[in-house]
Amino acid sequence: MSLSEGDVKRIARLARLEISAADVPRYAHDLSAILAFVEQMGTVDTAAVAPMAHPLDAVQRLRDDAVTEGNEREAFQAIAPQVEQGLYLVPRVIE
């Protein structure tokens, strides 16, 4: 599997990562090499094998729908890049 520079830009956009134009060829090379390596997976027929998502095949543990945490908004917002009146600020989304 070989990724073009256009593929890299598309993936970077999906992942919300800025990749500078100068770095795109390097990423295309590295990601292509990793995907080519991963292709070895195709050497084994797995049609009859059930996918394994979790080491112990555990099921999600459920708990009562109860409030267990206190409100720590101030502590959490104290480390935010930009807040005002208890709100997280981001650049204007709707003009």
Partner: protein
Amino acid sequence: MHSKTIAELFADLRARRVSSSELTRHFLERISRFDSGLNSFISVTEDAAIAAAAAADRRLATGDAGPLTGIPLAHKDIFCTRGVKTSCGSRMLDNFISPYDATVVERMEQAGVVMLGKTNMDEFAMGSSNETSWYGPVRNPWDRTRVPGGSSGGSAAAVAARLAPAATGTDTGGSIRQPAALCGLTGLKPTYGRVSRYGMIAFASSLDQAGPIATSAEDAALLLTAMAGFDPRDSTSLERPVPDYRAQLDDTSVAGLTIGLPREYFGDGLDSGVARAVEEAVDVYRRLGANVVEVSLPNSALAVPTYYVVAPAECSSNLSRFDGVRFGYRCEEPLNLIDLYERSRGEGFGAEVKRRIMIGTYVLSAGYYDAYYLKAQRLRRLISDDFRRAFTEVDVILGPTAPTPAFGLGAKQDDPLTMYLCDIYTIAVNLAGLPALSLPCGFAGGLPVGLQLIGDYFADGRLLGLAHAYQRETDWHRRIPAEYK
């Protein structure tokens, strides 16, 4: 006093031969004297350590002390520590002062452990050499031109240089065992779910597991006993009682045990010096009465490719939380919301993290999910089944931890695939969720070699017992690099 194990230090504390305050100052002094040459710490929490040591001394005086009370320890900077920078080795979290403690940190604190500081690591635990850290590479105390391994490289280097008696680590594909091997230490990756992941910054949630890096199996047993246990705040935490691993150390009898050597772990690519040291360790177990046989893990070669689909997929999802909005790094003067996301993440993450996020994004994207992610999950079961089958024939699996001893700084940095193959013997264990331990078994070219023991689910105690039995026969784990004696 820095050459002693935790078990020995605690005997000194209890007998009042030393106080926790003296012990803590001793290690803080060693950090300030030696760490500029190693870069093993990101933060040293001196004032808090001195206060915690004084509190521990009060507990020791009143008899309200457990086996870790007053013992200094370093935490990998992946564990959230309230009021202390928790960077995960990344520029993204360089300004992150955690508002809460990880469960591991909380449990250690309750046990009376004194935190010395936070150790350096590969960025977001992605790496096998500790060279991807935003804070620069860590150097191996056995040879400072070489890497300590990764991702828990700072923890391993700090303990190897005796800047801390022990440290915590995390292991997603070998990140406790491989640095323990390269630095001559005992490191345990417990059974998946044994130790809570709450407050441990997530890389690949179905693989991540925390564990101790120490100078002996006995110390690792003491630490695991304190770290492990059910935690309702971790949805994959195991609801099983925690034994006293140290009290059980002598319950494992080597005589009559069947040890399996996987033939796939002794083939091409294994350094001859490493092979020799591992074979000599096998002889020690034979002498102790173990029955040694060959086993096969036929899908071993597929473990690394499978991992590099599963782990990046989970990482791309986990790391989407770093958005520059609620905490962490934010770019200067974003033009709009998309620009804020893209530049904060582009500038906040290093190259290896970006590569893995992009691989993960790709394998999960429409049209590729079945061919990559689902395929990898199917292979994951085959890899797990290999172990299941092997454990019907043998009690424990033994092999090398890493294919080579510590390599030079920069030697593999430009080629991600070469770096990925450092974990060729450790990754399958994470895919299966099994416990595994690395312990020192000799030297190759003056550098430590690690022996890996892999057990069946919940055999953490048996692995510690087997390592302890070996360490009573040998003194490799007692070796300290000359400059740090």
